[in-house]
Homo-oligomer: 691 residues x 2
């Protein structure tokens, strides 16, 4: 008869033995190997019980608070088959259809997106994402109308503008454009050349395109539908000094471009069609040249700077650069929307690729049935880290939405800086990733991925420009790097750091202290799957990149000047920015795993999160090895574990994609239907065969 103590003691011994044995197994026989090696299997099964996912509970957790309005968007379009975009459609027809879709939606669905843009930005972006799922051209057309044209009026104008234009923008009686980009200037907005000269005699501004390089280019809604344009131009005021004029910097002006009744182009406005694009051909991008186009003084969007009747300039902000920053700062919402919508595209793409890979069978062991292509390690390697990333970005962009809404509510200074940088970084990082993933998914689905009906082509073509508009990704990442450097500098000057960059404040030094020679060799699964190890590793990289680039910049700026030094370190700076964004994403993912209310969802999310973390570490293993942050065997263990986690995630891949909860009539690809048994017959029917 054993006493309880004895029992407890025995349990303890037993658990020590088991743990040791497990650790030993892990060294002798890394996880990948142990799954099918007899006795060890029992143990490895014990510590890695098959994750069972309750799809509905996970889905509830994922959905977020705006899933209802997204369902209403889907329902509206599902009930209007005549508003579906066909697979093949000419540019002109697509533009007309896109306008009909937008009008129909805004006027019939009972959802008025423009109102939410002010009251509830989170809801507005959720609508935008859902609309983009119907047809990305429609999402962008809507974004041009409400975020860009409407957003410029609301955010850069004052009450008089809101009173005059709100209704017309909201109900699309005033379709409008956002005329910022010029033929010669996209990223360098301060280099724009269009001029708006104040004429005190007539109390008007005169808008002019001084040369062909200043033609407004790529302007959405301009080629066909727009009645107005918010035109960005250098404000020129007459002065009484020798120079005669003064350049007050870039300002925004409302310029009517077409007659409200006849829809004819107004005098002095020359509009041409930018023509066929790689994608988004439902959006009518045009080019605008202005020849002495006169607009009333009231058309200056005067929130950050105004001109009085007698031509005096007033502003609450002290300098051109401050006003410029404030103006551009108001446009950050576009990036938030793109980052969020890009995750939506990634989800659709991953859903289709994963479902098809489960359905498709090819080859197999001799004289046995063929196996699904997702059973191949190579296919898991292509798709499982991508599935994990879709989850990671989902949580990160939800976080960004929350921060953005909070910023809009509070106008908190620090929050403005954080949201600006976070939206720039996430927009750049996520859209680049999604763009690459669309190509990988197409290729992973072989020939059937090449059928237009299976979506990858149009998704890729439409999404492609996400990497460029609302800020070229390479430029945006530099803004992130610049912000990090500013924070780093302030840290050394004893200033406070803003919240997003907490980890730099708290522990930059500890991250940069010599890597512990013991932990550099730890290679147990428990250690590698410990969020602390993962976060430390990500942050160590960022901290190190930040510190080293600061040193290099200081050194080079002596001989090359600031601009030359920045360019000399540009690749380094971009890596730093990406590294930082990856850290933020991981942090939010870990939070989301821990906040998950039920254990089955938590286990599934934990798998995905570990895969996201280890896959990224492995992708940059050279960096870690170069500074001996991980020893060679640890690097090997990380690689093996990430392959094993891909295999594990595969076992719940169907549930994980189902939990995105995107209806079949939105994903639409016959090879990506939820009930995979129907996929092939859907497909043969589509081609015209009777089933």
């Amino acid at each position: 008869m054993e006493s309880l103590e004895e029992n407890g003691f025995q349990d303890q011994v037993q658990s020590i033995v088991t743990r040791r044995f497990r650790r030993l197994c892990f060294h002798l026989q890394p996880p990948l190997e142990s799954a099918s090696s007899g006795d060890l299997e029992v143990l490895s099964c014990a510590c890695r019980a098959k994750v069972v996912v309750n799809r509905d509970r996970l889905s509830d957790y994922m959905r977020g608070k705006h899933r209802d309005v997204q369902q209403r968007v889907y329902d509206y379009f599902n009930s209007r088959p005549e508003l579906q975009t066909p697979l093949e459609i000419s540019k002109d027809e697509h533009r007309e259809l896109c306008m009909r879709q937008l009008m129909g939606f805004v006027r019939e669905s009972g959802i008025r997106p423009f109102r939410y843009a002010l009251e509830d930005p989170g809801k507005y972006f959720a609508i935008l994402e859902a609309v983009g799922g119907v047809d990305m051209s429609l999402g962008i057309k809507m974004g041009v109308q409400f975020s860009l044209w409407g957003g410029s009026v609301l955010n850069l104008g004052t009450k008089k503008h809101r009173d005059k234009y709100f209704e017309g923008i909201d109900n699309i009686e005033y379709p409008g454009c956002f005329a910022m980009t010029e033929l010669h200037h996209g990223s360098n907005v301060q280099g724009l050349q269009t001029v708006a000269t104040f004429d005190p005699l007539k109390d008007e501004f005169i808008i002019d395109t001084p040369n062909d390089g200043a033609i407004k280019w790529w302007i959405g809604n301009a080629a066909v539908h727009g009645k107005f344009a918010t035109v960005f131009a250098k404000l020129i005021l007459p002065t009484h000094d020798a120079k005669g004029i003064s350049d007050m910097g870039i300002h925004a002006f409302i310029v009517p471009i077409r007659d409200m009744k006849t829809h004819k182009t107004l005098p002095g406005v020359e509009v041409h069609d930018c023509g066929h694009k790689v994608g988004l051909n439902g959006v009518d991008n045009g080019a605008l040249r202005f020849r002495s186009v006169r607009i009333p003084r009231d058309n200056l969007l005067n929130r950050f700077g105004d001109v009085s009747r007698d031509g005096k300039y007033t502003s609450g902000l002290p300098s051109i650069s401050k006003r410029f920053a404030a103006t551009l700062g108001e446009l950050v919402g576009g990036r938030v929307g793109l980052a969020y919508s890009s995750v939506g595209v990634l989800k659709i793409s991953v859903i289709i690729a994963v479902r098809y890979s489960l359905l498709r069978q090819q080859f197999g062991p001799p004289k046995q049935p063929e196996i699904s292509i997702l059973d191949y390690q190579s296919q898991q390697h292509k798709l499982m880290p991508m599935l994990a990333s879709a989850y990671a970005y989902h949580f990160a962009t939800l976080h960004l939405l929350d921060k953005y809404s909070e910023m809009k509510r509070t106008h908190d200074e620090q929050l403005i800086g954080d949201v600006h940088t976070l939206s720039a970084g996430l927009k750049a990082y996520v859209t680049s990733y999604t763009a690459k993933s669309l190509s990988i998914c197409r290729e992973a689905c072989g020939g059937h991925g090449y059928a237009a009906v299976n979506r990858f082509g149009s998704l890729r073509n439409d999404h492609d420009i996400f990497q460029t508009f609302e800020g070229d990704n390479t430029v945006l990442l530099q803004q992130v790097a610049g912000y990090l450097l500013k924070q780093y500098q302030e840290k050394f000057q004893g200033g406070t750091l803003t919240v997003t960059w907490n980890y730099l404040r708290v522990s930059m030094n500890s991250y940069l202290s010599q890597p512990n020679p013991v932990t550099a060799r730890w290679e147990g699964e428990d250690h590698l799957r410990d969020p602390k190890f993962q976060l430390d590793t990500f942050r160590y990289r960022t901290s190190r990149l930040l510190q080293s680039v600061a040193v290099r910049l200081r050194k080079h700026s002596k001989t090359l000047g600031n601009f030359g030094a920045w360019n000399r370190c540009l690749n380094h700076l971009l890596t730093l920015a990406e590294s930082h964004i990856e850290s933020v994403i991981l942090e939010k993912f870990i939070d989301a795993v821990q906040s998950s209310p039920d254990s089955s969802s938590r286990a599934a999310l934990k798998l995905a999160c570990d895969l996201y973390a280890l896959d990224r570490i492995w992708n940059d293993i050279g960096t870690y090895r170069n500074v001996d942050y991980v020893a060679p065997n640890k690097a090997k263990a990380i690689h093996k574990l990430s392959e094993y986690l891909s295999f594990q995630v595969k076992t719940v891949a169907k549930e994980l994609v189902d939990a995105f909860d995107i209806p079949d009539y939105v994903t639409r690809a016959p090879i990506g239907m939820q009930a995979t048994e129907d996929a092939y017959s859907q497909y043969t029917q589509f081609a015209g065969f009777e089933n």
Copy 2:
């Protein structure tokens, strides 16, 4: 007065001092830094004199022997503006235009591609590449007619087939299809389910589609134009044993599918349209279902196996698998053509992106003119290794063409194996690289890269499927890995190795001997730019990957069986295959540099070759660091030097892309014109502005 000896001695001392000083500089001040640091500059300029490229001489060297026929292709289409494919065209119109282009070209240009397919494969592929530059759909349409349909008749049939079909294929009176792929089976050709049953009573084969999964799918030329199809099916012969039938494996049969006069689909043949694709919409892919379609016995393409009047099977090859290998072996030309054409696409894409990046200016040092975006380190990083790779692949695929032609001439056994593997590897490696590059180029050209007229969209959409057809890239790379393993095994069994794999035979052991602790630390520029170092490093990786995967496979096959072990090591095997192909490419590039007849071309090619080599080594630096093949500081030096080489290649980038010698009316993108000063005005004219 100094004696000559003294003079010589002083020179020698001087050169030792200079060399030492240079080496010292390199350590203290790696090349990237030295360019602008006063005194050192003189020295670094001396050792890195600006490379001056004679574009014409380089171009002559690059062109190869078939440039004249390519010019004739370009001239023909340039003289026939009505055969230009417009930017926007519907699927149906594109298909008709594509057929008109093909007919016009073959009947009017004086070039008869099909004849060269036999007599001079190198010339044939050169024509194919040029035609693909006009419109990739046309290139593929031509490939379907001559390489696939025509190629199957010539290579799998016998004299009777050639006599009967050659003329009609050559002059396109017999447009035909290559009906191999089925809805359920692409890569696994042995899994095809279509059956061809011999009926001895009527001396006919009966072709049948037993289930929907066996519908022939993606068959080019089938939806609209094809009159015939080479149908791959299991040959079923009646036997006198209990089973009653015998499955002889996959064979190819000529099946008429449309009436020669009325063009109506023949009885028992059901054809449907595979519909809109991501790209290549000028090619009419269709789906074919056969219901007891009878064809004469003579329609069996009987080169590798025949059926006699009384239903007896005869073959010079002993087994189903040998016959299958021989049949598929004849189709290797398609891969050669794709690898070669893919390099053509890469060149066009790089030309456009580089020229635009030289033209486009954005930002710059304060109060100074803006700088060209190719002056940014990030843009160099995106495009310069790509430009170097285009050169690398150019020479590698020319080498493949030569080997292929030699194989066709000699039918040498070893050569057949080599060409098979090399074509599989290069096709997979190059098409994957080009596909990624097209996306990078689009993004690198920002908004203007998104205009359809600037080509990236259609090039990407059309080229995308190169990764899939003629063998899925993931499957092809496995064939390379399999072949390497076979060679490895034979090596240990004392067998001889074939020529392509020379380096494995010669020095596998030396590559695998412990990395020399001294060379692992060498970081001088001379060393890093030494072809021997570069080749050793590439081959070391391949050798190591080969040896380690062989060990892993042996271990896993005991518990998982061969198939399971292969799958468990799949990522490893794919890396091995890529690593090997990279080694072969580097080897050919180094040869090409050394064979270059003039020193200016040699210097330019050497720059590109070094960049190709070091960029690849840096991309996989983790692997080298993990085994301490390179020390941390050497890794750093490799990184710095590859950034510096990107900068150096940039200085001759214009000449390097010009030397590809592709006329403006072939590249066509307004932003990619050779005379960059016209680019913007071409572009505004295109949009409708008067200049």
